[in-house]
Symmetry: C2
Subunit: 140 residues, 2 copies
Amino acid sequence: MKHQISVVTLGISDLALSRRFYTDGFGWTPVFENEEIIFWQMNGFVLGTFKKDSLEEDMSRKAGPSPSAYSLAHNVASQAEVEPLMDRLIQAGGTLMRKADAPVHGGFRGYVADPDGHAWEIAHNPAWPIDEEGHVTFGV
Amino acid sequence: MKHQISVVTLGISDLALSRRFYTDGFGWTPVFENEEIIFWQMNGFVLGTFKKDSLEEDMSRKAGPSPSAYSLAHNVASQAEVEPLMDRLIQAGGTLMRKADAPVHGGFRGYVADPDGHAWEIAHNPAWPIDEEGHVTFGV
């Protein structure tokens, strides 16, 4: 079987608030948007920010009230880029979860939640190469 | 800014139970594993299945008791592959969330939760091409 994830979908409550976090914070541009979903073309897959009620209906499962245990990471090319990006994300409606510091496994990282509580790790990880198209390869 | 997610990390409670879902269900092979995390090289990024307590400590946030609103999708090449893969995932410890059917936006899909409640959509979406390396491109 292919090691493949096609879409990461995040349930959101307010499309405009969420959109601002991703466009103004990360500086990303939607590839498609309507009144209930925005798609973002990522590095080999698609990110969807989808009205929470619609996602719950599609999944046939109601979501819990608080974020569960998962996170998404965006890696940057140098340690110096971590905190400025975290600051931009917070200015764009995000919430600080953990100030950036150096984990024992190396690199440098902090966490910011998006307006719906989805956790984003902003990291510099020198062991994991990122190619020109943004494809990330595991390294040690 | 690059449209890039480096890692998707799922918090898990039992490493062996979770591992079985991904190896026997999806047929994937870890690229790294120790007693608290397994990494899987995906299509342009890395999937991590990480002991929940360790992820919570890293994020500086406790997780809610029930899954919140997000999902991951694995797309297959034909409609005929959707249900057999869902069956394999259930045999490997997953739980059926929604039987496969045809959504209004086209294609064919169902949902299975992994042993920790993380939602996986198994889908055939003929509008979204997948290249030889598993990279998925948004299409309409």
